[in-house]
C-alpha cells in the first residue's frame, strides 16, 4: 500500500487514504479493502461493525500501518483480524 493510495470498503461506504502502509493488507467490516468497490456490497462481519469515523487516523499496535478515514461507514478497520485503533493527535496551536 503506497502512501496516498485510496482504498474502499467492500461492505460499506468507508474510504481510507494510506498514510503508511508497506505490504500490509487491511480489511473493513471483515472483508479486504479494494481499489474499486464491487457493484454488490459483501456482507459485513458483525465482529467488525463498530464503524469508521471521518478524519480519524487508524493504526495497528506495531505501527506498521496508518490510515486516514476520508469517508465514514458501518464497517470497522482491521489488520490480520485485529481491529485498528484511532491515533491520538498531539494538539498544536493554530498557526495559520
Amino acid at each position: 500500500m503506497k502512501p496516498g493510495t485510496k482504498l474502499k470498503s467492500a461492505v460499506c461506504d468507508t474510504e481510507v487514504m494510506v498514510i503508511k502502509g508497506g505490504a500490509a493488507m487491511v480489511s473493513c467490516g471483515g472483508a479486504p479493502m479494494v481499489d474499486t468497490r464491487p457493484a454488490e456490497l459483501l456482507a459485513i462481519d458483525p465482529a467488525f461493525a463498530a464503524g469508521s469515523k471521518i478524519g480519524k487516523r487508524y493504526v495497528d499496535a506495531a505501527g506498521t500501518v496508518e490510515l486516514l478515514c476520508v469517508k465514514p461507514g458501518r464497517g470497522s478497520l482491521s489488520l490480520d483480524g485485529v481491529a485498528l485503533s484511532t491515533k491520538d493527535a498531539k494538539p498544536l496551536p493554530s498557526s495559520d
Binding site: P3, I54, V70, L92, P93, S94, S95, D96
Partner: protein, 498 residues
C-alpha cells in the same frame, strides 16, 4: 494524493455548515465543493497548463485552488501589487494560463490571446452552475499543487513549487480534522498569493473553522469584520498588527471579546510590539509562526503559553524567547549549520536547514534539497539550550567585511536602542579597503533630531566590535518594505550607490 481531499472531507462531514464568509455571502462546504468541481471542469476544458489568480482575496481563491487541484493543474496565485512589467514577465512564465480576476489588467499586460481570462464574478457563477451537474473527476496524477513566485527580496522571483504531498503532509501533520468548535471563525487577511494565505484556507477548512475572508487588509475593515462576525482566530503579519494597534491607540474601540487566538509571522516582529499586544489583549493566545514558501508554511512555532511565560519572566534567557520563533514542529527536523554544511551546537549562529515531508525546497528549474533531503533555507539563526530558534536574518544578507561575517541584525539591534531611532537597516556596501563595509539606513522617530554620525558610531563601537561600526550612514523618511512588511534589502543597498 490530492489537496482536494481537504475540501471533499469537509463537504462530506458538514455539507450545510458555513465554511467561508466573504463580502456578505456565506458559503457552505457543500457549495464550495460543488463550485470546485465545476471549476475543475472549466479548467480541464480550457487546455491551459496553469491556473492563475490575479485578484484580491475572495471565494474565487478557494474555488480556483481546489478546482485546479481536482483538474490536476498547478495553481499560481499572482501578486496583483506588482508593477505591470514585473507582472507581465511572471504571466509569460506560466502561459498558457487560465486566469481568474483582473481581466482588464491582463489585456494591458499584452499577449492576452494566449490565455483564457475570466473575471471573478463570471468564474464563480459559471463554476457554481457547472458544479450542479458535473461529476467528481477521477483523481489527477499531477504532483504539483501550487506554484508561488517568491517575493524576490534578494533577486528575481523564483517559481517555488509545492506538491500535493507537501501541502497535505503539512495539514495532516498539524491540524486535526473537524477539531474546531462550532463558534470558531478565522479572520484571514493575508493575500491569496502568499503561502500564509494558502495555508489559512487549507488549515481552516480541514479544522472546519469558518473562514472570514477580508478581500484586502485595512485596519478598520479588519476590526469591523472581527467584531461583526465574532472572529475567534486571526493570522496577521507584523505590519498588520502594528496598524491594528495604532488604530486602537487612536481611539478605535472594537468589540474583540471573541478573539481567542492571534497567530503572526511572515516577518520580524519587534519586541516592543508583541509586548504591547500581549498587554492590550490579555486574554488572547498569541502564536508566532515561522515558515517559508518552500516549506509549505509553518515549521516552527512559539505557542500561547510560551508567550505568556516569556512575557512575565524575570530570567533574561526565558524573557528573550519572546523574540524567538519557538521550537520546530514535531514533524520537522531542524539543524543549524556552518558554511561547510557541518551541524553547529546550541548557541552558535549559522544557516537553518530543515527536512520533512512538508518541505518542498523545490523550484521549477531545480531542487535545492541536498542528497539527504535537507533544505538550506538561506535564513540565518541559532538555537538556545532548550531548542528555541532565533532568527538573525537572511544568510545572503550577511555582510562580509575583510573576511569577517557580520550579521546585519546585531548592528540593527544596537542602533534601535538609541531613543531617536525608529527603524534601521544595515547592509553591505562596496569598500575598496574591505571588499564590503557596513552601510546603515535609518529613520528617525517623529519629533526627534537625527543623531550625529559620531554618536551612532560610538554606540556601535561600545556595544560591539570596531568592525561593526558603520562606514556610511544615511537618514531617510522611510525604509523600503514590500506589502507584507518584509524589508527589501536590495532596495536599501541602492541608497548607497549614489
Amino acid at each position: 494524493m490530492n489537496l482536494s481531499l481537504i475540501l471533499q472531507m469537509a463537504a462530506e462531514a458538514g455539507p450545510d455548515m458555513i465554511g467561508l464568509v466573504c463580502d456578505g455571502r456565506r458559503w457552505t462546504y457543500g457549495e464550495l465543493w460543488r463550485a470546485a468541481i465545476g471549476a475543475a471542469e472549466m479548467i480541464t476544458q480550457s487546455g491551459c497548463g496553469h491556473v492563475a489568480l490575479l485578484d484580491e482575496n475572495s471565494e474565487a481563491a478557494a474555488i480556483a485552488l481546489f478546482g485546479a487541484a481536482l483538474a490536476g493543474i498547478p495553481y499560481v496565485p499572482l501578486n496583483y501589487r506588482l508593477a505591470d512589467a514585473d507582472l507581465a514577465s511572471l504571466v509569460a512564465r506560466i502561459a498558457p494560463a487560465y486566469i481568474v480576476g483582473d481581466a482588464d489588467r491582463v489585456q494591458r499586460l499584452g499577449h492576452h490571446a494566449e490565455h483564457v481570462v475570466l473575471t471573478r464574478p463570471t468564474f464563480v457563477a459559471e463554476a457554481e452552475t457547472l458544479g450542479e451537474a458535473a461529476a467528481e473527476p477521477p483523481e489527477a496524477d499531477e504532483p504539483i499543487a501550487v506554484q508561488l513566485f517568491t517575493s524576490g527580496t534578494t533577486a528575481a522571483p523564483k517559481a517555488a513549487v509545492l506538491r500535493h504531498a507537501n501541502l497535505l503532509s503539512y495539514i495532516l501533520g498539524t491540524v486535526e480534522f473537524m477539531s474546531a468548535g462550532e463558534d470558531e471563525a478565522a479572520l484571514v487577511s493575508v493575500p491569496p498569493y502568499h503561502i500564509a494565505g494558502i495555508a489559512a484556507l487549507l488549515s481552516s477548512i480541514y479544522a472546519m473553522r469558518r473562514i472570514l475572508l477580508l478581500p484586502a487588509f485595512d485596519p478598520d475593515a479588519w476590526l469591523a469584520l472581527a467584531a461583526a462576525e465574532h472572529a475567534t482566530n486571526a493570522f496577521v503579519v507584523p505590519t498588520m498588527l502594528s496598524r491594528i494597534i495604532a488604530r486602537i491607540d487612536e481611539g478605535a474601540k472594537p468589540d474583540l471579546g471573541s478573539l481567542r487566538a492571534i497567530a503572526y509571522g511572515g516577518g520580524r516582529m519587534p519586541a516592543e510590539m508583541i509586548d504591547r499586544a500581549l498587554s492590550l489583549f490579555p486574554d488572547t493566545g498569541f502564536t508566532n509562526a515561522y515558515g517559508l514558501t518552500e516549506t509549505s508554511s509553518t515549521i516552527a512555532l512559539l505557542g500561547p503559553d510560551e508567550h505568556r511565560v516569556a512575557h512575565r519572566a524575570g530570567d533574561p534567557a526565558v524573557r528573550a524567547r519572546l523574540g524567538s520563533v519557538g521550537r520546530p514542529l514535531p514533524t520537522i527536523e531542524l539543524e543549524i549549520r556552518d558554511d561547510e554544511g557541518r551541524p553547529l551546537p546550541a548557541g552558535e549562529r549559522g544557516e537553518i536547514y530543515v527536512r520533512g515531508d512538508q518541505v518542498s525546497g523545490e523550484y521549477k528549474e531545480r531542487s535545492a534539497l541536498d542528497a539527504e533531503g535537507w533544505f538550506p533555507t538561506r535564513d540565518a539563526g541559532w538555537l538556545d539550550a532548550e531548542g528555541y530558534l532565533f532568527l538573525t536574518g537572511r544568510a545572503d544578507d550577511v555582510i562580509v567585511r575583510g573576511g569577517e561575517n557580520i550579521s546585519p541584525g546585531e548592528i540593527e539591534d544596537v542602533l534601535l536602542t538609541h531613543p531617536a531611532v525608529a527603524e534601521v537597516a544595515a547592509v553591505g556596501v562596496p569598500s575598496v579597503e574591505w571588499g564590503e563595509a557596513v552601510g546603515v539606513a535609518l529613520v528617525v522617530k517623529p519629533g526627534c533630531a537625527a543623531p550625529s554620525e559620531t554618536e551612532l558610531r560610538t554606540l556601535v563601537r561600545d556595544r560591539l566590535r570596531s568592525s561593526r561600526v558603520p562606514e556610511r550612514i544615511v537618514v531617510r523618511d522611510a525604509l523600503p518594505y514590500n506589502e507584507m512588511g518584509k524589508l527589501l534589502r536590495r532596495e536599501v543597498r541602492k541608497l548607497f550607490q549614489a
